[in-house]
């Protein structure tokens, strides 16, 4: 293989959740005017793909499923240097949970691969707004890709042999894994920093035509597996977290001096939890 890996990066447009609030009376979400961003975790996936392209050549296609306005997320990704962008958009996709989402994305990735087989599919570790960490494994399973989650580094890739090795964050350590292409990689956060787009990329992105595929164009075979219909999970209610009944009791001291307040705080904490002292002395005598 001389032409470098064919890569697809799945991204999602999400509301900037820092700016979402709940109406205090009606308890409904106030989303109006909340700006959208590319799911922050997906940026690490995009940069990882761009880095591989720097090394080996090849192609990076960004793919998203969402409403027409999600095109702006793709445009942004093009501005950072992605080669091609596809928006998967159809009312049949609305209300999809992770299972239905991975079904539709899989159809689209297969379609992209019809031209030239896809070697690596990238996703972020999770999204900030809803489905967490399952769309990646879902795609891998459906496409029969080797699944590499929580990847922190890609030390080697051998296109000739069709092999890749990665560092994968595990509980209590890092696994060094070797597997065959094609594979799916979910990138761990904070493993790289997304490059700024070059001026030509930014200009190209502004003018670029974003391909929009509906279910038919993406080659989706079973509409019953898409959207709300194809989602085994249903949201039964959405509500705001209960505020705690009591506010914090304030610790003060008559003279207001930090030392006096601190001494009062120590006594308050030890009084409130009689076993705390033994935990403290046990831990600190060793030191």
């Amino acid at each position: 293989m001389s032409q470098g890996p064919n890569m697809v990066v799945c991204i999602k447009q999400v509301p900037d959740s820092a700016q979402i609030s709940v109406h205090p009376v009606t308890n409904t979400i106030m989303r109006q005017g909340v700006p959208t961003i590319i799911n922050p975790y997906d940026l690490f996936a995009l940069e990882a793909a761009l880095k591989l392209r720097d090394q080996l050549g090849g192609k990076v296609t960004v793919l998203t499923m969402g409403p027409p306005m999600a095109a702006s997320a793709l445009r942004k990704a093009l501005g950072h240097g992605a080669d091609d962008a596809i928006l998967l958009s159809d009312r049949f996709f609305a209300g999809a949970d992770t299972l239905a989402t991975s079904y539709a994305l899989t159809a689209a990735i297969n379609k992209i691969g019809a031209e030239r087989p896809v070697d690596i599919v990238f996703t972020g570790k999770q999204t900030i707004d809803g489905d967490t960490a399952q769309v990646g494994p879902g795609i891998a399973r459906r496409m029969g890709l080797n699944q590499l989650t929580y990847v922190s580094a890609i030390p080697s890739i051998d296109l000739e042999a069709g092999e890749i090795s990665v560092h994968r964050r595990a509980e209590g350590g890092v696994q060094v894994l070797k597997t065959k292409l094609p594979c799916l990689i979910t990138m761990l956060e904070a493993t790289n920093e997304l490059r700024r787009g070059s001026l030509p990329d930014v200009l190209r992105a502004e003018r670029a035509e974003i391909k929009v595929w509906n279910a038919e164009a993406a080659g989706v075979e079973d509409l019953g597996k898409c959207g709300m219909k194809g989602s085994p999970t249903k949201v039964s209610k959405v509500f705001a977290p209960k505020p705690r009944a009591e506010k914090a009791k304030m610790i003060t001291a008559e003279d207001g001096a930090p030392a006096s307040v601190a001494a009062a705080a120590v006594e308050t904490l030890l009084d409130a939890d009689p076993r705390l002292l033994s935990v403290l002395t046990k831990q600190t005598t060793v030191a």
Binding site: V261, A272, D273
Partner: protein, 363 residues
């Protein structure tokens, strides 16, 4: 007495909300006991504790699933699952399960589910549990609700799984009425761990893996343990001290570390400190960091945004120090001090040092 009017025909629930006949045989609550390198991740015991409540509410058995190599650690995990109230444990012992890999673990779990048919399957939302849960749910074509913070049994005996959404500003309850098993993951330290009953035992059901190493594409070349790399152990710390933007400058992190040292505590931070590179990502507390559940949490110069709150409000006692009396942290902290952390932190360190010295002399 007038005859009560005939009940209206049951409202035609959409097809996707009714449990198909062939899935009604699915019974019992299962918990995946996460075993790696001979050690069980404590989240497994937290899930068994929670699973016990669900099994009791349904009037069914609570079962553990242990996958691992034939080894002492595996047998110990089985015995301990009973201590944490499992009635039955399904075990697959095979050398191919020595190191976690998605392929053999997915096969082991889906085979067990297809044969023994649980109605609920719970896994820890660890890197291993999430990797496995996504693959298993897709293979079984069932619903999976991730990172749940509350689990309950609904009127129609379905699992009501509640999880934060929109960055923790809201909670949503999710149901999987028409597919089985109903799968969930729960992050470590979100559920409380019960006390083990060392006298308990139960039934062990062993099954084979039926797989050959040649058929597994992915190979583990190496495992680099974190003990070699100095990772923070926040999730299971008894005491945690954390700093936020109120610290103002990176050099003031020292004040947090000093207090933590005197208390034998772990230290952590809010997200902006990680973004600024003042602390490493493994020390971030909150929705996109670690969930902590210590005896004591001391939050210094942290505003208490919802994303921070969801990761820390499980602490038994929270002391917050903040200059702003209206900071949201005081809405969920138990004790508060209004003042400057840069003055109060050294004072608190000194006050604890003195208090502990007195106690040690006395003891």
């Amino acid at each position: 007495m007038a005859q009560a009017p005939a009940a209206p025909p049951a409202k035609g629930r959409k097809k996707t909300e009714e449990l198909p006949e062939h899935l009604k045989a699915y019974k019992n609550v299962w918990v995946f006991v996460e075993l790696e390198h001979g050690r069980v991740h404590p989240v497994s015991w937290e899930l068994l504790t929670e699973g016990r409540k669900l099994a009791d509410a349904l009037g069914v058995d609570l079962c553990g699933v242990v996958l691992g190599p034939k080894a002492e650690g595996t047998e110990k995990a089985v015995a301990e699952a009973f201590h944490y109230s499992a009635n039955r444990v399904y075990v697959i012992e095979d050398p191919l399960l020595a190191e976690y890999r998605n392929e053999p673990y997915t096969k082991a779990m889906t085979d067990l589910v297809n044969k023994h048919k649980p109605e609920i399957l719970m896994l820890g939302a660890t890197t291993l549990g999430r990797d496995l849960a996504g693959a298993v749910a897709t293979t079984l074509q069932t619903g999976l609700t991730a990172d749940c913070t509350e689990l309950a049994i609904d009127d129609d005996k379905s699992l009501a799984a509640t999880r934060p959404t929109f960055g923790g500003s809201l909670l949503c309850t999710i149901m999987t009425r028409a597919a089985r098993p109903q799968m969930t993951t729960v992050r470590p330290r979100v559920m409380a761990m019960g006390d083990p009953d060392r006298g308990r035992t139960g039934e062990v059901v062993r099954e084979p893996l039926d797989m050959a190493e040649e058929s597994i594409v992915t190979k583990v070349l190496d495992f680099i343990p974190d003990s070699d790399t100095n990772q923070a152990q926040l999730a299971y710390a008894d005491i945690v001290v954390a700093g936020g933007m109120g610290l103002q400058r990176p050099e003031n992190i020292r004040l947090v570390v000093d207090l933590a040292q005197v208390l034998g505590a772990e230290y952590g931070c809010s997200r902006p400190l990680v973004q600024k590179g003042w602390m490493t990502a493994d020390r971030q507390i909150g929705q996109t960091g670690k969930t902590i559940r210590p005896r004591l949490y001391i939050a210094c110069g942290i505003s208490g945004a919802i994303q921070h709150r969801v990761g820390s409000e499980g602490a038994d006692q929270i002391l917050a120090i903040n200059m702003d009396p209206n900071a949201p942290i005081f809405d969920f902290a138990h004790h508060g001090i209004v003042g400057d952390v840069l003055e109060l932190l050294p004072a608190l360190t000194e006050a604890f040092r003195k208090r502990l010295a007195v106690d040690r002399m006395a003891g």
